[in-house]
């Protein structure tokens, strides 16, 4: 199940979750996105990549969805690592993604 909307898309392919566009929907809108993340983690991938290089904007509810729906879920799977590919072009990523390190150990953040 991929999510494609006018302003954003979330695609899961070969262990890579790719989020693109601008994501600034209301909190209720994130419910299905969070369950999509949980589904992915639950499917038991050996490794997981979150590619947000083309995610230009994410609102605060989106940050919460990432933290709870994806990152904290990864922690429940022993030995699973999450790699986040970010872009230096987006200031919000520079400011916020490094703080995800506080959540779990098994996290790699790469800025490109």
């Amino acid at each position: 199940m991929n999510i494609k909307e006018e302003r954003y898309s979330i695609v899961y392919e070969n262990n890579v979750i790719k989020i693109s566009g601008k994501l600034s929907i209301m909190p209720e809108g994130y419910e299905r996105i969070e369950s999509f993340f949980k589904e992915i983690v639950g499917s038991g991938p050996a490794e997981l990549v979150l590619d947000i290089r083309n995610l230009e904007y994410l609102n605060s509810s989106g940050i919460k969805a990432l933290c709870i729906g994806l990152i904290l879920e990864v922690e429940t799977k022993e030995g699973l690592w999450l790699n986040i590919r970010c872009s230096k072009q987006h200031r919000w990523q520079l400011e916020t993604v490094p703080t995800f390190k506080d959540l779990i150990e098994n996290l790699n953040i790469v800025f490109e």
């Binding site: 609102n59 605060s60 940050i63 904290l72 703080t99």
Partner: protein, 426 residues
Amino acid sequence: MSNENKEKDKLKRRIAGLEKTLQIVTGYSGRIEKNLRQLFEVVSDTMPVPMMISLKTGAILFFNGNAQKIFGYSEKEFRKIAASLLYENPDDRGIFLKTLEDKGEVRDFAVNLKKADGSVFPASLFSRQIVFEGQNCLLTVIHDLSELKQEEEKRLMLERQLRQTQKMEAIGTMAGGIAHDFNNILTVIFGKLELASMMLPGESKVVRYIADALAAARRAKAMTKQILAFCRKTEYARKPFHISTVVAEAYKMIASLTPSDIEVRLGIKAESAIILCDPTQIHQVMMNLCSNAHHALRDRGGVIEILLEEVRAGSQEKIMIPALKSGDYVRLTVRDNGPGIEKNIVDRVFDPFFTTKPSGEGTGMGLSIVRGILQAHGGAVSVDSEPGKGAAFHCWFPLVAQTEDLTESVMPQDTVERHRKNSVRG
């Protein structure tokens, strides 16, 4: 580890994760909030229009620099004042709020607003309901229309002036032609009357009749002369004169012609002021104005004041008298305490041929000649009248200089003498 402990541990870690998430999210929102607030402040302070945010109750929560500037309140005062006090009529805010409620927004709400110093300016308001700092508010943008209005008024005035000039020109051409022919006819009348009286014995009654006829014809001649002078396009030779001397001369003559129930007063406060003028024309201006004042005081008596003073024309005067450029002037005022001029005709008294006098008594040319002379001198004439209290005509002559010792050299006595004989009543 027991199962129970494992569960406990898992829950603990979950709680810790949620706490950290909360921190991350609030940190993130804080940054966004700050950016948005900054965006709002930059937008509101860079946009070239006054803007403010107020509560329905009238408390003002936010105003930009332009709003402060246009209303002239300090930041502290602005925070205390009720929004309704920014309206000339505070009730207007009620109408404004009602419109906002009915339509959801307000566009182009025309209203007069009031500044801190009490002055009023026309404006148009645009407003929407918003939530600001957690409260239901209205964001209002103010369009200052005073400049627009001024532009419009200026355009209308120029249009009026243009029409006036065109009318004057047409009338001038026509009147000039008539006066010229009329003058020729008068010459014949004069000649024949003089001949006739010469041929009569001195004690004859007819001589008196003819003398009266001659006097009337002389008046007619003076009148045509005025008209011709008015229509003549050639520039008069204007020289620097102490206008006070010219005015004093004319005053003497006017006073001697004035009936005893009218007092003529002279007040000269611009002794050394020099203007470029043709003294004949100054005489004519005074004669025309005083003859009107005589007429206004006829049968009731009164006072005519002739004043000469130096004045500076600033923006205030320019609004009242559009033809005036800012600068220093010598102002000649002829004021009477007669019946004054009705409001509905005051705009027309300078029009050629406008008269309220019965035919035979008024030509309607007196003031239009005064206006023409002032225009030719680079000045302007204005009228101040309060019906029932009198009228004052102000003649503004551009000031050239002030010196004490120019008088003799620039004012050959004969100029004044010669013109004194030619002066006529308007």
